[in-house]
């Protein structure tokens, strides 16, 4: 009798182990879609790395120059776009001058999308960011880390023209800026190479710029050693980092909105890991017997 139950359990688990992966896919899909329609508020704990970014931003006086480096493309936008929007909103609200550039060809386009969405925002409707007063977009430049190295000597020579084709020297935001020593803060949004690692190696290690970064969660673990060594002051990793930034800076957006789906998804993955292991050990235990 006992044996019969064992056989039944073993059969069940073996069946479970060979479960069609499409069932797993379906679970994931449901876990992500359903929360979009729910409205549950969650408490978001702030990690010290994100607080560092906030502290750096808060120290900036009105009129300070902030360089936003957009080093990502549309596939990584769900994680990085909310960070870009939150930081930009903070800058515009506190009258910090924003300089946009990209080492990825699609980066400056993502910046334009972020600005478009800010202009549509109720909070900025009466006081939309104005080109060359509140921000400039220097566009994309080929050369990867060598662009950063060039900027360390002369930004205006590295980017002779902005995104729209105006000479950089004619822009009022760029007045008096020669290199990183005239930039008060750099925020790098990065999804890979070239990105935060290169900014650390060149802008920070060689030219002593002050740098914080927002990274995709995939890349964040590799960047942690730089936070710990002080080469990087502050790091926001993935959607959670975006939600934390939104909370600290006071602009709730997609980062916070997506957190619920994120929670559900993690629970589904953890659930599958546990089930998979239970099934594995149950069937293996039987074999040993």
């Amino acid at each position: 009798m006992n044996d019969l139950i064992w056989v039944a359990i073993k059969f069940m688990f073996e069946k479970l182990l060979r479960i069609d992966r499409r069932i797993i896919f379906l679970f994931v899909l449901i876990a992500l879609i359903v929360p979009l329609f729910l409205n549950i508020s969650q408490h978001i704990a702030i990690s010290p790395e994100v607080r560092d970014i906030y502290d750096s931003l808060r120290k900036l006086q009105p009129g300070s120059r902030v360089l936003l480096a957009f080093d990502y493309d549309p596939p990584s936008a769900p994680e990085l776009q909310p960070m870009a929007v939150a930081v930009m909103k903070y800058c515009f609200k506190h009258n910090l001058k924003v300089i946009i550039m990209g080492l990825w060809p699609q980066g400056p386009l993502q910046a334009n999308l972020a600005i478009e969405s800010i202009k549509r925002d109720k909070e900025f409707k009466d006081n939309p960011p104005i080109y060359d007063k509140d921000y400039v977009n220097l566009g994309y430049m080929t050369g990867n880390e060598l662009v950063i190295q060039g900027m360390g000597t002369d930004i205006q020579r590295t980017f002779p023209r902005d995104y729209l084709g105006n000479p950089t020297s004619s822009l009022s935001v760029m007045k008096g800026i020669t290199n990183f020593s005239n930039i008060d803060f750099i925020f790098n949004l990065s999804a890979g190479y070239p990105g935060t690692v290169e900014w650390v190696l060149f802008a920070v290690d060689r030219f002593h710029a002050k740098l914080s970064a927002g990274n995709t969660a995939v890349q964040a673990p590799q960047v942690y050693p730089y936070v710990h060594s002080g080469q990087l002051s502050g790091l926001a990793g993935g959607l959670k980092g975006a939600a934390e930034l939104e909370k600290l800076l006071g602009f709730y957006g997609k980062g916070t909105k997506f957190m619920l789906s994120q929670s559900f998804a993690h629970i589904v993955v953890i659930f599958f890991i546990i089930v998979g292991n239970v099934a594995y050990f149950a069937t293996r235990g039987k074999k040993k017997k």
Binding site: K59, G63, G176, T178, S181, N182, P221, Q222
Partner: protein, 399 residues
């Protein structure tokens, strides 16, 4: 209704402020004497030091000053600093740059080497300014050696010497011991299994170009795998995502087949280009794997996000998978979904172990020597730091 005492007080305070402001404006226009900071002109920055930027290619002078006493957190009126430059100590000063409140440094990189310059830094608060005395002369120059990098220079010299010495020893025929690497032992077995099953072997050399050292290591290991497939007459398929990799991989596979005495079994279509795009490449391989169900798949080289798509699909068709990469973010997936994984440096060690080539063995030993030095430095250094004998870390500052 008549004004309250408080309102009167406020009004008189305002008038007093206004008057003193006007007076101070006039005074400061004539001489930049620091006045009461809360009401008028700011204090100028002090102790301006100017010097040539060290260890550079010239054309730059660095300025450093102590902040004005008004440059404190919370003082919103303090705007920042303006930097002026002239070639004469008395006249001709022009603004060349600004620095925001809180900064104490600026690099002027618009200088002509050898020309003498004088600098003034002044504080801006509200609409008033205060200048410090001009400082100079100073001129920029280019240097013949970057002294800030002397530590890297020495370390690299020692490391390179060690590598070359070990290579020399290996070539002389000395036996150099290298421990077993589990993932590599499995290569022969994996090729053997594909032969038994009569199915193909896929070899994916990563998605990066030939300029990536990992790709080079991957292509080196391909040489070994190709030699085995030539001997066993197992079909080999190498889809690549870079034209340069295609060229190199063809050379290497061709040579392997030649050395195995089977040049007839080689043809160029074994190594073929798909697309440069990461996901286009992954999608194409995905399709190939699902349709052809290879027996063995190798992933050796630099991978990004496509690693998981590839490894999971390979796993789902039941292929033996052997992976090797030095991309930390991709390693968990290979460890999870592949039968054997070469972790980080093991990929580089693998090409040495497989080929038993003196140059590879020697350099692996050289790297080990480097690791031994680093281990020693960390242990001794941490003890020194613990007892606070001196700042040991300053030796390793990078510039």
């Amino acid at each position: 209704m008549y004004p309250t005492k408080k309102a009167l007080l406020e009004t008189s305070k305002f008038i007093f402020l206004l008057l003193s402001f006007l007076v101070l404006m006039n005074v400061s226009a004539f001489c930049a004497v620091p006045e009461d900071p809360s009401y008028g002109a700011p204090a100028p920055p002090t102790d301006l030091v100017v010097r040539d930027v060290p260890n550079d290619a010239g054309g730059a002078i660095i300025l450093h000053w102590d902040p004005s006493v008004d440059d404190v957190e919370g003082n919103d009126k303090f705007i920042g600093y303006e930097i002026l430059r002239s070639t004469s100590p008395d006249s001709g000063f022009k603004v060349i740059g600004t620095a925001t409140a809180g900064s104490t440094e600026l690099t002027d990189n618009q200088t002509v080497d050898g020309k003498k310059y004088y600098y003034i830094v002044r504080s801006l608060m509200g609409s008033s300014i205060a200048e410090a005395w001009p400082v100079g002369p100073v001129s920029s120059s280019q240097q013949w050696f970057n002294l800030g990098r002397i530590n890297s220079f020495i370390a690299l010299l020692i490391l390179s010497t060690a590598i070359l010495w070990y290579i020399h020893r290996a070539r002389r025929g000395d036996t150099l011991f290298i421990r077993k690497i589990a993932g590599l032992e499995a290569v022969d077995e994996a090729v053997g299994r594909a032969t038994e099953m009569g199915k193909a072997i896929y070899y994916i050399p990563g998605t990066q170009d030939m300029d990536n050292v990992q790709t080079i290591a991957g292509v080196t290991i391909l040489g070994r795998v190709a030699k085995l497939t030539a001997q066993y007459e197992t079909p080999l398929d190498v889809p690549v995502s870079r034209s340069l990799v295609m060229i190199t991989a063809r050379e290497i596979v061709k040579e392997a087949y030649l050395n195995a005495g089977r040049p007839d079994a080689y043809n160029d279509s074994m190594v073929h280009y798909l697309t440069d795009d990461q996901f286009g490449y992954a999608a194409a391989i995905d399709g190939m794997v699902v349709r052809e169900k290879p027996a063995t798949i190798f992933y050796m080289g630099a991978f990004y996000a496509e690693s998981l798509i590839l490894a999971e699909t390979g796993n789902s068709v039941g292929a033996i998978q052997i992976a090797g990469t030095a991309m930390p973010a991709q390693l968990p997936f290979f460890i999870a979904a592949c039968d054997y994984t070469l972790i980080g440096e093991e990929l580089f060690a693998a090409s040495a172990y497989l080929s038993k080539e003196p140059k590879l063995l020697g350099s692996l030993k050289g790297q080990d020597f480097g690791k031994l030095c680093i281990l020693g430095i960390i242990i001794i250094g941490s003890i020194i730091q613990t007892f606070g004998i001196f700042d040991f870390t300053s030796i390793f500052t990078v510039q």
